[in-house]
Structure formats: C-alpha cells, structure tokens
C-alpha cells in the first residue's frame, strides 16, 4: 500500500471568488423559487431566466477554478462558513461549503453541461405549455446538485442529496398528465410516467436509509458529521478523526457499506439499479442532465469524497469494486438487448457508472481516474442523450430503434455529434473514452489496489470484457439509428433539429473529442494526467499504481482488439447493407429475452420485496385490527360491562342505597374487629 499524505486535513478560509461560492447555489435556487412563485406570469420569459442562472453559476465556477489554479496545490482546500444550521444538544452543526478541486470539478461539470442542456431545452420544450415549470425544476436540480457537491458535512450533503432526489422525481414524472399539444402524452403514458417517478423515489429512499445510518454511526462514534474542522478552530472533522485512527476497521467498514448502499441507490448500482431504466420516462434533457451526466454520478462522488473512510476499510472498498464490476457487466448485457434508444443509453450509463465505482473501489489509485472518467462520461453521454432527443424530435417522439435507420443522411449534424460520443464511449484511440476508460481497465489490472493476488485478474478481465460489450451495444445503437435502410413509420419526415439544439450537441461532441487527450491519463505513462493532478489535494495526494499484472500495451491493444471485434460483429448484424433489422423484435435467445427484461431484476424485486411487503402490510393491518384495536375495544367493552354491573344497583330507591351503606358499615367494622383480634 502506498503511504498516504493527508493534505486534505487542512482547509483554509475562502478568499476571493471562492468566498462567493454560496452564490453558485443561490443563483439557480433563487431562479427556481422565482419561476415557481411567479407562476404563469413568468411563462413568457421564464426559460431565459432559467438558462441565465446556471450560466451565471458556471461563470462564477470558472472564476473560482482560475483562482484555485493560481494558488499552491496544498492551499486549494477552501472553506466557506454559512452559519449555524443545526444546534441540537450535542449536535452543533454549522453549514458550510467546501471549495476544493473535487467540488469545483463537479461544479464546472454541473454548470457547464447543465447550461448546455438548459439551452437545448429551450428549443426541445418550446411547444410544451409547462416549459417555465420545467426550467424551475431544472434550476432546482442544479441548485440541489451544487449543494450536494459543495457541502462540507454529510448532513448538508444529504440535504442536497434529497434535493436532487426531489428534482429527479419531479422531472421523471414531468409528463404525468394528459397533454395533447407539443409533446403528446396519452393517459396511459402519464400513468406510466408517474409510476416511474415513484419507483425512482422509492428506490432512492432505500439508499437514503444507508446514508442516514452512516451519519448516525459517524455521529455516535465521532460526535460530528462535518468533513473537516473549520479553519481557525480546533474542531476536528470526520476525515481528520478517521485519519487519526479514531474508528475501528470494523466500524469504518460498516459505515463504508452504508455509504455504498446510499451510492447504489443514487447511482443505480446493483442491486438498486432497477429505477434508472424507467426514469427515461422524463423529458430527454432530464435524462441527459440528471440520469446521465450528473445526479447518478453522485454516488461516485460520495465514495470518492469519503475516501479517508474507505482507505481505512479495505473490505468495504472491495465491496464497492465488486458492486461496480457487477453493475458494469449487468448494464452492458441489458444494453445489448434494449430497442428503446433511451433505455439502451440508460443501461450504458449504468454500466459506465459501474466502471467509475470499480475505479473508486480500487482505492487511492482509482479515485482520481474515477472522477476523470465521470467527467468525460458526463460529456459524451450527455451529448448522446441530446442526440437521442434530437432523433426523437425528428421522429415524432419515437424511441424504438427498430423504426429508425438511415438517419445519417437526413440529420448530418446529429449524426456527427452522436458519432463523436459513440467513438468516445467505445474507447476509439485518441478520443475521451480511450484515455478515461482504459485507465480504469489498466488500474483494475494493477496489483497494488488489492490484497489478494487473484483479484486484479478477475476485475481486470471484467473491465476488459465490459469494454468489448460497450463497443457492441453502443455500435448496435448507433448503427440501428443512423445506418442501414430506413425503417420509418409512414408519415415520418426526419429533419435536422433547430440550432439551439444542435449547438449544445456540438460543444459536447467537442468535449468528447478533446477532454480525454487534454485532461486524461496516457496509457503509457504513470502520470495521472492534468485532471488527476488537479484532484490530488482532494483525494489524498498522488498515487501511482504499481505496474499492472499485464504490461500496458497488452491491456491497451487487447482492449482495442476486443473493441474492434465487437464493432465488426455489430456492423455485420446491424450496420451493413446486408444486415436485416426486423421492425418488430424477433423472439431472441434466452439471454436476449432476459436482457430485454432487465435480467428480471424487477421480477426479483417484486417477488422478494413487493409481495412479502404486501403480505407483511396485510398482516400488520390485521394485527392492528385484531390485536391493537382489539385490546382497545376489549378495554372499552369491559368498561361498558362493569358499567352495566354498576348500573344494576342504581334503582333510585334511597332505602336500597341506605341498606348498602349499612351493610358496608357492618363489613367495615367486622374487618376492623378482625384485624384487632
């Protein structure tokens, strides 16, 4: 194991642009509040305000990044104190923002990609009567996401965590009522959309439970939930105390696993991944921003942010890696079978986040490359989602890829930008994915990330296999959409989207092209790349992994060979002139059917959780009625019965009352005499 240099323990009071970090959140939050409170009065100009807020935040974020770049690497951990937030007995928590390279990286990703998607949405939602509300929700999401990444404590992070969950819920179910203009939504679709949003919400609650338990354990063990102590005070934060060895390995493992549960919920990792596919019910920009580029990566952020905890708990880290590896294959297999373009992309997102989780689970060698891949993925996946939205825009909201085909000639710009994203994700040499994903594969093969000798072989192979599968399903998606003969529905006339939609796609495609080569890690070098350097203060310093168990050229070229093979197979089946893509899905093999059904995860969930839950609820209702209410009723009935008995002597005859008194006196005196004798 590499020794750690915990430079992260020292934060400084923010100065300059960094001290204005609160405005990063306030701008979109204020915009969302304004748009929601003004209501229909803001309909005409609401989208402009909605676009302006993230753009302003983005500019401020850039200013902060520039300021941090101008300082020494060890002084890039800035802290902004907001004020006393929770003052409840032993828990005295001040709200504050942590402005460090990690959070600023996320701020830039969220605001930059977010701004582009906002611009795109202006055109995409132009016919929707609720466009203002849409922008309000989007701004709310941006504000919550920024809160999440800027928080200086688990509790404030959780606040943002729930905020993005709320925004996600609102946006997945945005079309939850029948609409017959703009984006047409039938009643059945509206119902499905509502169910999808509820599913996402509930699945996230399971993860939140882990977060709450983790916070409770931290507070019970360490007495604080802040990341670091406030500068200028002698308070210590969680990470300072953990670095000081205040947590036992077992406790750190428990907390790590609980945090992993939270991350699984938010990032759609196995076994809480089932909601992401259905979340595609939301408008496509939402899928691009929330369910591809930013929110779903919050789990990765949480794991990377909590790296001091995971560093003390190797077993928890191993579980993170296993979850990542499983999800990586899971998403890839599901992605191979989906005909719905958005669901295929969602499965791809799941798989790519699996890569990030796997990297984060590798420990110090993996944190930085996980984030690098996360940012790169944010670019090309958002770009592809926007491209998918553009295609749907052209095809009357059709999502079935079997009814696409041959769109390359009609939608050249979309074709090219989508192609950039496609090449980036499959790891075409020189593009973003080649640098970001291959570095993860390489790290997975490196021996110093593990404690057992067999582990690099297993995880490395899985990662490599995942790359091949990625190449296959992404190419399948690309070819089915843009190549081959046209299989359009009658009456569909594809056309290129308006400029407001294409330009963001162009920018994101440029990101897909150049992000990796500029910021990523070169396969032949131990240097972690520019972004890796930049992130070092936040993720515990520089860590170079040992040489992989295979030499890097073998890994790189082996991966490329596999990718090329998958590409060729895909071209043969879906792209070439000779390829026959039936307009209705063929029955398919057992594996295909399983993959189409999300590998029966929903069925398992239904069987293991929903049905027992239903019966448990019924049993509880019955118990409540028979036992709890029964007890209450029995008490009441016995009171009535006693009252009936007591009623009998109440004849109204004074003489009977007097007789009772006389007998009572007799009995009383007898008792007194008996006691005396």
């Amino acid at each position: 194991m590499t020794t750690l240099t915990l430079s992260a323990a020292h934060t400084v009071e923010a100065t300059g642009a960094a001290s204005a970090a609160l405005w990063l959140i306030l701008l979109p939050a204020g915009s969302a509040a304004l748009l929601l409170l003004l209501g229909r009065r803001a309909d005409r100009w609401g989208h402009l305000l909605g676009v302006a807020a993230p753009v302003a935040s983005c500019v401020l974020g850039l200013a902060i990044a520039v300021q941090l770049l101008g300082t020494d690497a060890s002084e890039r951990l800035h802290h902004v104190d907001i004020g006393s937030w929770v003052d409840a007995g032993a828990l005295n928590l001040r709200a504050g923002l942590l402005v460090d390279p990690l959070s600023v990286t996320f701020v830039l990703l969220i605001t930059f990609v977010g701004s582009l998607i906002h611009v795109y949405s202006v055109a995409y939602m132009s016919h929707d009567i609720n466009r203002r509300r849409f922008f309000a929700y989007l701004n709310l999401f941006v504000a919550a996401m920024l809160t999440l990444v800027l928080a200086d404590s688990f509790l404030l992070l959780f606040f943002g965590w729930e905020g993005v969950g709320l925004a996600s819920y609102l946006l997945i179910g945005f079309w939850n009522h029948e609409v017959d203009r703009g984006h047409k939504v039938s009643g059945a679709q509206a119902m499905d959309n509502s169910v999808a949003s509820k599913k996402a919400f509930v699945a996230n609650r399971v993860g939140d439970l882990g977060m709450i338990i983790a916070m409770g354990l931290l507070f019970a063990q360490l007495g604080t939930v802040s990341f670091h102590g406030r500068p200028g005070t002698d308070e210590a934060g969680v990470f300072d105390l953990v670095a000081d060895g205040r947590l036992t390995v077992a406790m750190a493992t428990g907390i790590g696993l609980m945090l992993l549960l939270a991350a699984c919920g938010k990032s759609a990792q196995f076994p809480l991944q089932s909601w992401l596919g259905d979340a595609m019910a939301g408008p496509t920009p939402v899928s691009a921003l929330i369910h591809a580029a930013t929110m779903v990566t919050a789990g990765v952020y949480l794991v990377v942010r909590s790296q001091p905890l995971f560093d003390t708990a190797p077993n928890a880290r191993l579980v993170v890696a296993i979850v990542g590896a499983v999800t990586l294959l899971y998403g890839a297999i599901v992605g191979c079978a989906k005909d719905d373009i958005k669901k295929a992309l969602a499965a791809s997102t799941m798989s790519q986040i699996g890569y990030m989780m796997l990297a984060a689970g590798l420990g110090p060698v993996g944190y930085a490359i996980a984030i690098v891949h996360l940012v790169g993925h944010g670019f090309f996946k958002a770009g592809m989602f926007l491209g998918a939205g553009s295609v749907m825009h052209a095809m009357n909201d059709e999502v079935d890829m079997r009814k696409f085909g041959g769109l390359a000639r009609r939608m050249l710009l979309t074709y090219i930008t989508f192609g950039m994203g496609w090449l980036a994700i499959i790891g075409f040499p020189g593009l973003t994915g080649f640098f970001t994903k291959d570095s993860i594969i390489e790290a997975a093969f490196s021996s110093n990330a593990y404690e057992q000798a067999w582990q690099p072989w297993v995880f490395g192979t899985v990662a490599m296999l995942g790359a091949a599968l990625t190449a296959f399903y992404m190419s399948r998606l690309f070819f089915m959409t843009f190549e081959g003969p046209a299989r359009w529905e009658p009456g569909v006339h594809p056309h290129e989207s308006p400029r407001l939609m294409t330009w963001p796609m162009v920018v994101l495609a440029a990101g897909s092209l150049f992000f990796g080569v500029v910021f990523g890690k070169m396969p032949w070098s131990h240097w972690q790349g520019r972004l890796g350097d930049w992130l070092a203060p936040s993720v515990g310093g520089h860590h170079e992994h040992a040489d992989p168990v295979l030499a890097w050229p073998i890994i790189t070229f082996g991966t490329l060979v596999l990718v090329a093979a998958a590409l060729w197979l895909s071209w043969q089946k879906f792209g070439a002139r000779s390829a026959q893509v039936p307009r209705t899905a063929p029955p398919g093999s057992l594996v295909t059917v399983a993959a189409r059904n999300d590998l029966y995860q929903d069925h398992v969930n239904h069987g293991l959780l929903v049905i027992p839950g239903t019966y448990a609820t019924r049993a509880l209702v019955f118990t409540d009625g028979a036992v709890v209410d029964g007890a209450v009723r029995t008490v009441a009935r016995s009171a009535v019965a006693v009252g009936d008995l007591a009623r009998r002597p109440q004849t109204g005859f004074v003489r009977q009352y007097a007789a009772m008194m006389a007998l009572g006196v007799v009995v009383l005196i007898i008792i007194v005499l008996a006691v005396q004798i």
């Binding site: 009623r647 009998r648 109440q650 004849t651 109204g652 005859f653 004074v654 003489r655 007789a659």
Partner: protein, 104 residues
C-alpha cells in the same frame, strides 16, 4: 351497675333507628329513625364523658343536638316541598336517581 349498660342501650337504639330508616317508606318516619340514631349516639357521648371524667363528650352531644335541629329544619322543608309537588311522602316515589334504560 356498669356504665357499659348505657352503651349497650345506645347500640340497641341505634340499630333500631337504622332499621327504621331501611324499612319504613314514609319519609317522616324514616327521618325520625335518623333522629333516633342521633339520640343514641348522644347517649353514648354522654356516657363517654362520664367515663373519661371531662365534659367534651357532653359538648359534642350538645353540638349534635344543634346540628340535628338545623338538619331537621332543612329535611322537613324538603319533605314538604316534595309533598307539595308529588302529593306523596313516600321516599320510594322519589326515585328519579336511577338508570332510565332499565327501570328495575
């Protein structure tokens, strides 16, 4: 003769008075039973005073008499008031203090 005889006489009178209250329906006679019980206690008090050699028992008996006088005034006034409205001096007729659902 032992002074205990007075006490025994007192208990006899008290018991008879109590039985009168329980047996007789005429409110006035029942009331007289109460008076008899009071008198029986007075006799006991006077005897106690004699046994103990101080006058507190007699003072208590005196107060019992005064309170009895007050009680009789009010009690008889009540009997008269009831008689005026119901034309009856039977205490069994005054039985409104009962459960109306199940007139026993």
């Amino acid at each position: 003769m032992s002074l205990m005889n007075y006490l025994v006489l007192s208990t006899v009178l008290f018991s008879v008075g109590a039985t009168t209250v329980l047996v007789r329906r005429n409110a006035i006679i029942a009331f007289m039973g109460i008076e008899m019980m009071l008198n029986a206690t007075n006799l006991a008090l006077v005897t106690f005073a004699r046994i103990n050699g101080n006058l507190h028992g007699q003072v208590l008996a005196f107060f019992v008499m005064v309170v009895a006088a007050a009680e009789v005034v009010v009690g008889l006034a009540i009997i008269v008031a009831i008689y005026r409205t119901r034309r009856s001096a039977s205490i069994d007729d005054v039985n409104l203090l009962k459960d109306v659902r199940d007139p026993a």
